[in-house]
C-alpha cells in the first residue's frame, strides 16, 4: 500500500541543495552512451571524464557497468579504485550486482554507494540484506521505467531490456520500505533522446517515497534540471548532454539557482571547494 505523502513533501526538498550527477556508462574500459538503453556508442575515457566532471562541480559521479553480467567486473573495479583515489566525491556504481559479495567488492574498490535493480526485483530480500550489512545510505534502487499504454509506468530489469510486470511507483515504495536509501529513476523512453525528462514520472515517485529521489533520462536543457527539482527530485542525473558537451555542469547549476534552488557551494575560483 502506498504511503500517500502530500504535496508539502516537495517543500523540504525544495530547500535542500539539488545534486547534479553525471552518469558514465562503461563497456569494458570505454565510456558508452545508450539510446533508449540499446545501441552503445563509444564516448571516451572514463577516468578523464570523471575527473573533468569532478573539477567542473559535479556533486557525485555514477558509473554504470553495462556488461558486468556478461564479463564480470574485472575491468571496472580498477577504474573505480583509480577514480575514487582521485576525486573526493561520492561515487555510485551499478550494473549486474547479484550478491552481497558483489556489493562488498564494489565498496572495497572505493565506491560509496551501489545501485541495484534486476536482482532486487527478483529477490527483494536482497535490499534488506544489503542495507543491514552496509547501511541503507549505500543502497540505491535503480528504477528503470517505461510508460504503460493504460497510464502509469512499469519497472524494467536487465538494463531496460526485460519487463518485470511490476508497477514502478509501487515497487519504489516497497524497495524503500525494505531498506533502499535512495531511488534513481530513469525513463527508458527518454534515455539518450534529449527529448526532455518524464516529469510526471519524477513527480509520481518523489511524492510517494520517503527516500531521496534521483531522476535521469532525456535531459535536454539546463532548465530541465529545474523542472525536475520542482517536482521533488533531490538529484538530476545527466549523461548524454554532458558527454557530448551540449551542456555543462555550470549551465545546470545556473539554471537551478535561477529557478530559486540551492546548489552546493564551490570555491570562488570555480575550483571544487
Amino acid at each position: 500500500m502506498n504511503q500517500s505523502i502530500p504535496a508539502d513533501r516537495i517543500e523540504g526538498v525544495a530547500r535542500l541543495p539539488v545534486r547534479v550527477i553525471p552518469k558514465i556508462e562503461l563497456k569494458g574500459d570505454h565510456v558508452v552512451k545508450g539510446i533508449r538503453m540499446e545501441g552503445l556508442r563509444r564516448v571516451g575515457k572514463p577516468y578523464e571524464l570523471a575527473r573533468a566532471y569532478a573539477a567542473a562541480g559535479a556533486d557525485e559521479i555514477f558509473f554504470v557497468d553495462t556488461v558486468a553480467s556478461l564479463y564480470g567486473r574485472n575491468n571496472v573495479l580498477p577504474l573505480v579504485s583509480e577514480v575514487s583515489r582521485e576525486i573526493n566525491l561520492p561515487l555510485t556504481v551499478g550494473g549486474g550486482v547479484r550478491s552481497l559479495e558483489d556489493f562488498r567488492e564494489i565498496l572495497r574498490a572505493g565506491a560509496d554507494k551501489v545501485a541495484i535493480n534486476t536482482h532486487a526485483i527478483n529477490r527483494p530480500e536482497f535490499i534488506t540484506e544489503a542495507a543491514e550489512v552496509f547501511g541503507s545510505q549505500s543502497v540505491v534502487l535503480s528504477l528503470q521505467c517505461k510508460a504503460r499504454a493504460g497510464g502509469g509506468w512499469e519497472a524494467y530489469t536487465l538494463n531496460g531490456r526485460e519487463r518485470s510486470g511490476r508497477d514502478a511507483v509501487d515497487w519504489a515504495v516497497e524497495a524503500v520500505e525494505r531498506g533502499a536509501g535512495e531511488v534513481l529513476v530513469t525513463s527508458i523512453d527518454r534515455d539518450g533522446t534529449r527529448r526532455g525528462p518524464d516529469l510526471a514520472l519524477a513527480e509520481a515517485v518523489a511524492a510517494q517515497v520517503v527516500a531521496p529521489v534521483q531522476v535521469g533520462g532525456g535531459i535536454s536543457a539546463p532548465e530541465d534540471c529545474a523542472a525536475l527539482a520542482a517536482r521533488g527530485a533531490s538529484a538530476v542525473v545527466i549523461a548524454h548532454m554532458l558527454h557530448f558537451e551540449r551542456m555543462s555542469l555550470t549551465d545546470a547549476r545556473k539554471a537551478l539557482v535561477a529557478a530559486g534552488r540551492e546548489v552546493r557551494p564551490l570555491a570562488r575560483s570555480g575550483a571544487m571547494k
Binding site: L107, V210, A211, M272
Partner: protein, 207 residues
C-alpha cells in the same frame, strides 16, 4: 605527521576513508588488533551500516575497551558517520543498543517530517555552534557544505559538546561534536571535496 590508525572491524567505508587520508599525505595503518590502539598517535573510527551490528563487531575484537582507554589517555579519536554514532552511550537503531559510551548522549532516528527525505543524503551547509580553534574543523568556514548520508542523528547530553550543526526538518541537527580528545563527524569528510580534506589534514597533522 603522526601515526594514524584506522579501526578495521569490517566497516563498509574503510577504503573510502583511507583514501581520504592518503590524499593528505598520511599513511594510515589498519588496526586489526585492539591492543595496537596503543601503538598509534591518533585513531579514526569509520562506520556505515547498522549500529548494533557494528558494536557487535567492535566488542568481539576488543575495541570497546581499547577505545575507551585511548579516550581516557587523551588520545585523539575521530569517529566518522556511524563511527561518530558508536562513540555515544546509546542508540535506538533497530532496537536499543549500548554504544562505546565515550561521549554522553543518544542516537535516535531523524524525526520524519513531511517534506524532508529520509535518509538525509546530500550536501548540507553547516554552522558553527562554538569556536572551532583547536578542533579538526578549525580551517573550515561557516556555510561550507559537506556530504551527509544518514537516517540517525546524535543528541549529545551536553549541548556544549556540539561543534557544528545543520538545518533539517525545521530543526538544528548535530553535525559534529568534540569532548576532550574525542571528535565526532556525522558527515563524510573523505567525499566532501576539498573542504572535507581540510578536516583530515588538520586532524592528522596536528602534533
Amino acid at each position: 605527521m603522526r601515526r594514524v590508525g584506522i579501526v578495521d572491524y569490517g566497516a563498509g567505508n574503510m577504503f573510502s576513508v583511507s583514501r581520504g587520508l592518503r590524499e593528505v599525505g598520511v599513511k594510515p595503518t589498519w588496526i586489526q588488533d585492539a591492543e595496537d590502539c596503543e601503538n598509534v598517535d591518533a585513531i579514526l573510527l569509520p562506520g556505515v551500516g547498522a549500529f548494533g551490528e557494528s558494536m557487535r563487531q567492535l566488542r568481539a575484537r576488543g575495541f570497546d575497551k581499547a577505545l575507551l582507554e585511548a579516550a581516557r589517555d587523551g588520545k585523539p579519536i575521530l569517529g566518522v558517520c556511524v563511527g561518530m554514532q558508536l562513540l555515544f552511550s546509546r542508540s535506538f537503531e533497530l532496537g536499543d543498543h549500548n554504544g562505546l559510551g565515550i561521549l554522553q548522549g543518544t542516537v535516535v532516528r531523524i524525526e520524519p517530517s513531511p517534506g524532508w527525505p529520509s535518509p538525509n543524503t546530500g550536501w548540507r551547509r553547516v554552522r558553527a555552534r562554538r569556536k572551532l580553534d583547536g578542533t579538526p574543523f578549525s580551517k573550515i568556514e561557516d556555510g561550507d557544505a559537506f556530504y551527509f548520508a544518514h537516517s540517525f542523528e546524535c543528541q549529545p547530553d551536553d549541548p556544549k559538546a556540539v561543534l557544528l550543526e545543520f538545518e533539517y526538518g525545521g530543526r538544528s541537527v548535530c553535525a559534529a561534536v568534540k569532548a576532550g580528545s574525542v571528535t565526532g563527524c556525522q558527515f563524510h569528510p573523505e567525499i566532501s571535496g576539498a573542504a572535507g580534506l581540510k578536516i583530515y589534514r588538520t586532524f592528522f597533522s596536528a602534533t
